[in-house]
Symmetry: C2
Subunit: 345 residues, 2 copies
């Protein structure tokens, strides 16, 4: 706080001008090698680091990115999705020498916050995680022309930059897999309809049915909220319609579903098979271990960051869309390893 070290001090100590020091800091090639070394040494010795606010003001570059996590999905924040995402983002930031500013968009403060982000002039770009379908953050960002990338595609603005997995195809494949295992009444606990990942996965489920020429049965389709509690609740409801397998759109919900099944005295997978989505760390340790669609969350964060950086550096002609691959991780809840499993294909 007090009398901070400035570029001028460094200049004095190394017998050059303020400008030269600035050049050294910014790796400008137009500096004599010897001079550069000398200045560097002084900076090191005095443990000098340029003032970010001043650089931001003078150059408009702050090396700071914003990360917005809408709190409509607050419940979600208690599952490991966001931590993993944040780790990915953070890793990329470290690598590129950027820092991250975090906003949990508490709805009450949301508007104010958006303004702050967008107008602070502090931030070079923004990553928006799991936006709701009609998220005002996205609108504000578009309006202000701040570079930003979504984690998860946007339902209506299709040409925004984003990184995502192919939720629809992944879901379809998972359901088809269950069907190949011989299950006849495959239900789903979908994600909320106001999140694109939720609807995409539901559509994938329907695609699978269609492929097999089966009409979707509303009784076999439940809508959860991606949380454990939601999965528990919806599974109880589904139970009344006797599915023999359930595609659950998140591992957290699958956890809840398993709890409901346990309480109902149903065995997994013998009575009802389950496939989850996410491959959260705990999925390998449930009883029995959960078959699930693995999505590379950490990687998504990493890639989103790099995409954003590219967007900032290259403007509109940077690559804008990345689809990351998923993988069906076959463990035990799908019953693939049972004797009684009867693959039909």
């Amino acid at each position: 706080m007090s009398n901070r070290l400035t570029i001028i001090e460094i200049a004095k100590h190394s017998g050059v001008s303020r400008s030269t020091v600035s050049r050294v800091i910014n790796d400008d090639p137009n500096v004599n090698t010897e001079t550069r070394e000398r200045v560097r040494a002084v900076m090191q010795k005095l443990n000098f680091h340029p003032n970010v606010a001043a650089r931001g003001l003078a150059a408009g570059k702050t090396r700071i990115l914003g990360l917005v996590i809408p709190m409509g999905v607050s419940a979600l924040f208690s599952d490991p999705y966001f931590p993993q995402l944040i780790q990915g983002i953070s890793a990329a930031c470290n690598q590129h020498n950027y820092s991250t500013m975090l906003w949990l968009a508490d709805p009450e403060y949301e508007r104010r916050m958006i303004q702050q982000i967008v107008s602070s002039g502090l931030i070079e770009g923004v990553i928006v995680a799991s936006a709701l379908n009609d998220d005002p953050v996205v609108e504000a960002l578009m309006q202000r022309q701040i570079p930003f990338v979504l984690v998860g595609r946007h339902p209506t603005h299709t040409n925004l930059a984003y990184v995502d997995v192919d939720n629809r195809v992944s879901a379809r494949d998972a359901v088809l897999y269950l069907m190949r295992l011989g299950y006849q009444r495959v239900a789903t606990i979908a994600g909320p309809h106001n999140m694109i990942a939720g609807v995409d996965r539901l559509n994938g489920y329907k695609d699978a049915l269609k492929t097999r020429g089966i009409a979707p049965d509303p009784n076999l389709i439940a809508e959860g909220d991606f949380s454990e509690g939601g999965g528990y609740q919806e599974m109880q409801r589904l139970l009344r319609h006797a599915p023999d397998a359930v595609f659950v759109a998140s591992d957290a919900m699958a956890l809840g579903a398993m709890r409901a099944l346990r309480e109902a005295g149903k065995r997994v997978p013998d009575d009802i098979a389950l496939v989850g989505f996410d491959d959260m760390p705990f999925a390998a340790h449930t009883e029995p271990p959960l078959t699930t669609v693995r999505q590379p969350i950490h990687r998504a964060g990493f890639v989103a960051t790099e995409t954003l950086l590219a967007l900032i550096a290259e403007g509109a002609n940077a690559p804008r869309r990345v689809i990351l691959p998923t993988e069906l991780v076959i463990r035990e809840t799908c019953g693939a390893h049972r004797a009684s499993a009867k693959p039909t294909v």
Copy 2:
């Protein structure tokens, strides 16, 4: 980015000087009420927000806090502890109109990062979550005289500001509770010895033994790393020494312990009772539900933030230490509700 709105534009539009606009922005009382309203209206209409970097430069106040999460505890980041903490911090920040900057202190970049934080001049103070015992972040912060508060007390620098729960007493009470339930061979899976919470809880365990005049048996003391995997592993080891109850220093480890017990064919709590620590959201949903020490993590984040803000505002004479209460949440893994439980007190 381009031609941003500045205070001067606002001044022109409202027919006053730059200074007056600045006064309005900063709620300086020396402004005519009428003028104030007028300026406010203009700002609103033009959707003006002052440039953070400029304010930071001119006034040294940025309304930005730093949050450092040392990545030595990276594994931890996959359990809901940090999300809850972050939510608490974020809530407090929103309330006080501050923002948070997040650093996951990847060891490799740790030094560089510290410098950045500390010297960026961007940050008014720092919250350090779960510092390791010898964390260089803490040293750097002390040296640079940046206001900061720890979540979890520091082992050696006892007069640093922190918020914490009384891990030692809480652990002791939990263990005493198990003993009152009649268990004879109470073991523990402790946290890592390089984290103060780990050693405090272990000491609490030892305190309880001492109270009952029992010498600690090294065979009944395992050291985990606060992770599920660690709990699993350590429980397998403990099993060889036939404990009848285990105090597990984190819920995540308790989860792993339960998995180990399941695989070993032991029933909980009939064969071995368990008490965890944290009361993570999933603790209520394990099979059977986990008895555990609840600590108010969200609240800790909130209070830590307010403590930091006080520190920034009032300097050294702000309140510096907060101990938050814990609560033993009795569910089923402790066997309290069994017929076979035989309370001795």
